[in-house]
Symmetry: C3
């Protein structure tokens, strides 16, 4: 299954910071038999974030989009505001599960404004920007992602979770 | 107190599948002293789902509406999109509690897009379609339902939870 | 850091009930080195609630607004409906964490419709109206509040939670 990793960070976009989180997510996905077909770095602004999401979901070739960054409370953190309006279906349980596992490790994970949902049969997850927050969030839901993709693409019948 | 159980399933509506979940919910409710006054089976389409919700909440005779089915990620799963716009008050905590207890059993419960809320003094819960998902979700909140009904009908004072 | 405590209660507003919850929150905040710069009591009506929130967030002098009351399921409980439309950023994880810690103590905490978010660099938390519900909710998030304020005011870099 094909994934895209979008790093949302002014610092990385302007090459003042290394994209540690994007690389860490890439590695976890590859280890778990995902093909990371696309990686992008965009600044913390709503239009470029939405442009990437729209492009990557329009053709139906990407099964999973993972964004990292911009989910915090800072003035420049706008990822949820960019992603949520593009979701046709919200999957609140995935965002809840990422934070639930997060707060088991540190209560500051409650400050992550991660959202999750579906657009045009692509699953979209917005993860925190820090390497630790991003990788912990992905690990929290990694096991259910293949089944989620099967479900949203109609490749499987309703099951015990739906 | 009076409950309605609405099964949302193309398969059950077209009599290709037995309504196992609807019957299981009926049984749990009856055992817990609820009167199941109405049972319905509707297809996975927004208009018939909304029609049932509107009819059952307009007269104020039903205290609790439980739907089962259509909360997953599949292309035909539209229950949250049908139910959420009709809620005057969302009760996110009930949906969270159903998923929280669910993920303690299987992480796939995070994929349930259950919503909960109030319309015209009727509590509405949308449960997953599988017998296991539906019954586990109901069990997770069963204990608090009578008090929730008392509160939303104004029969009791604010208490420690409100 | 400066906090405001708004008690939302018809009973307290009309002086038929003592504002036990407001006083309890005041005490916890003061003990934890917050300056409670403003306390108010408003009735359970959307316009006066929104008026207070708007006044207290317009000048940017208050870092944290805590409301208590009106988060239940009763016909007069309208705090989430008053507060949510004023939030520029929702912080779902804080509301989830308050309910998560709540249900560890009593499952009735699932009925709290607390919301949390940011308006004009002020963090806003809506807590239940009962002394027990209000204080437990505040205790659940108290540790992360100073960091949340730093983040939303841009005084700190993105960290492991954002």
């Amino acid at each position: 299954m094909k994934a895209a990793v979008i790093t949302i960070s002014d610092g990385c976009f302007h090459e003042k910071k290394e994209d540690t989180s994007g690389r860490a997510l890439h590695q976890i996905l590859t280890k778990n038999k995902w093909v990371v077909a696309v990686t992008r770095i965009v600044p913390d602004k709503i239009p470029p974030i939405q442009k990437q999401i729209l492009e990557l979901t329009d053709h139906g070739e990407i099964d999973l989009i993972i964004t990292t960054g911009g989910t915090g409370l800072g003035p420049r953190d706008v990822t949820p505001e960019a992603v949520a309006p593009l979701l046709e279906k919200e999957v609140a349980g995935l965002a809840e599960l990422m934070r639930l596992r997060g707060v088991e490790s540190t209560e500051f994970a409650a400050l992550s404004r991660s959202v999750a949902g579906v657009r045009n049969r692509t699953l979209i997850l917005s993860l925190p920007g820090s390497p630790k927050g991003a990788t912990q969030s992905l690990q929290a839901v990694l096991k259910v992602l293949p089944h989620a993709i099967d479900l949203l693409q109609g490749r499987t019948e309703h099951d015990s979770s739906s």
